[in-house]
Symmetry: none
Subunit: 317 residues, 2 copies
DNA sequence: TCGTGAATGTAGAGCGCTCTACTCTGTGGA
DNA sequence: TCCACAGAGTAGAGCGCTCTACATTCACGA
């Protein structure tokens, strides 16, 4: 079932069928009907591989998510899907499964596939590597700032977010505020430094404590476990993301501590998790869907304005 | 940067470079080094579009998740990634975003892309549509049973299922329960071990017997044949899948034995075959990750055993 | 009557790879 | 000495589509 078959069936040339399939305006109404009818009748479906090979573009954007388990990414993806749909782009998703090495593999296969552009969300790869990929194909990073003139970044101000969290807790009267760190997770580092800076700013530097972790519930639970064991439970916890907060919350309640009566928690991201019943989690909001939308819009405009990259070699005879 | 360039650089033919890139054994050590060196030096990366077009297979599995927000899917995906990695398959993810229409679009683009197989997880599409897609390319459904002989379904824990099967038979008063093994079939191994474990658990270890076989009616018949000849017919049979059960059933009745009066049979899979009566089946909820693994394993074995689908048209001159 | 140009089609050369069917060595057994 | 054969490599025809350059038709004004 190829173009050729449809052409034969409709009694026209291959080229004409091709034009119809891409609904070019250069086709008469008559021919269009004729071809379309033949195609439908034969159940023809264009072969993307062939199409992409011949046209040297895929109308496909590679989206690299660091962790499928974290709803943060789902929400970013939502925004991206919206924009992609509106612009006729396809999205191919890849999961790095919290590992930089796997992220690298995914990027490599995006490149081999020939995507027109790449969005990396919460990517853990070394900035150098990201930038390098960015020189091969337009790339935008969401949720993690990459300072580079070739890679675009869409991010919320994590330092500021952390500051807001600390300020909120201080307003509630807390002084002993511990930070559960996000390790190598995207945004973890500025959130930590934001925490430290604002603790100092509020004259609470001596209370500053950072418990290592990463962006998982397990880490949140483990951190609380550690605090319990050390009998060093603070009055408030500021976690680097919502998963950590959930994990901490769960562990605290198992230990018989009430949240927020005994311990207050402020998470980060405001993912849908925070909204789940029972859980009263205060969290720093991040407009994820919008971030996704902006990210892809940025990327698409890069595609247009960078005709250098899109340049096709001329055919010489 | 194409094969051709590398070939020129290395001073060999295009074909040789191609062989090296797919590490064929038909290349001498020398040439391999030579080509590899040239490729690395030039930063060559094979073009997947071209490769796939020419070879008519993509080594890519389309994975359709109904909803990225639901962690259930993340867990399924984990299992699938694991198996894909182990078998050199690439995964392309699609999100249906809780809409059947979008699921359809995603499937359509999987087909257009030419994936070698498809796994749908918690798919909302009409079974008919899923089955139809299943006729075009091997397809497995996880988390939703599709009764069809063309679409595979994964939605139970095999060991647990086996346990329930044994328990069921024990409750009926059986002690002499024989297992007809499924050989290398997907899920056969855990079903066997689940059988053995629960026999022991019920204090029936001394009755444990496993008759080798595979997922075919013939094997089921052969197994019964063997039991008859040895005059060692048990009171109950637990078969590793439904085909085995059908084969066994058929052979038993030919021998004048009544099912379930003389011999009870419990099959596995809950295929449409099960609707034929006589056979009581067990289906249990399964841990997601394992379901994902099983789903992809099933799909991959379908790919192997269905060489009909993989058949390539011969070239005529 | 001709030239002009818009509207519509078509031919044919690729895109970058894979695959079949050779060719060309050098071995080793009869 | 000759032939069969395994090992290594190559030529060349595609895979199914797109794209440039060119052909044809027809209406219309000069």
């Amino acid at each position: 079932m190829t173009l050729e078959d449809v052409a034969a069936e409709a009694g026209v040339s291959r080229a004409l069928v091709s034009l119809v399939m891409r609904d070019s305006p250069r086709v008469s109404h008559n021919s269009r009907e004729l071809v379309l009818e033949a195609a439908t009748k034969m159940g023809y479906r264009p072969n993307l591989m062939a199409r992409n090979l011949a046209s040297r573009r895929t109308m496909t954007i590679g989206l690299l998510l660091n962790d499928l388990h974290n709803p943060w990414f789902a929400e970013i993806a939502d925004g991206i899907f919206t924009v992609a749909d509106a612009n006729g782009y396809r999205i191919i998703l890849g999961s790095g499964r919290r590992s930089a090495a796997r992220e690298d593999e995914v990027l490599e296969s995006f490149l081999a596939f020939g995507v027109d552009g790449i969005v990396v969300a919460g990517c853990r790869l070394a900035p150098k590597r990201i930038e390098q990929v960015g020189t091969e194909v337009p790339l935008v990073s969401v949720g993690r700032a990459i300072s580079s003139q070739v890679v675009g970044t869409v991010n919320s101000d994590d330092r500021m977010g952390a500051r807001l969290a600390v300020e909120h807790l201080v307003r509630l009267g807390h002084r002993d505020i511990v930070h559960l760190d996000g390790g190598r997770g995207a945004g973890a580092s500025p959130r930590r430094s934001g925490y430290l800076a604002s603790m100092k700013e509020f004259g609470l530097a001596r209370f500053s404590r950072v418990v290592p972790g990463d962006f998982t519930e397990q880490a949140g639970a483990a951190a609380v476990e550690q605090l319990l064991r050390a009998d060093a439970m603070p009055t408030a916890l500021f976690t680097s993301n919502d998963l950590l907060a959930i994990g901490a919350l769960d562990r605290l309640e198992r230990a018989g501590l009430m949240v927020p009566d005994d311990v207050s928690i402020v998470g980060y991201d405001n993912t849908s998790l925070a909204a789940l019943g029972h859980i009263s989690l205060t969290t720093v909001d991040q407009p994820r869907e919008e971030m996704g939308r902006v990210a892809l819009s940025t990327l698409l405009s890069k595609l247009d304005q960078d005709p250098a990259d899109r340049e096709r070699p001329m055919t010489h005879h």
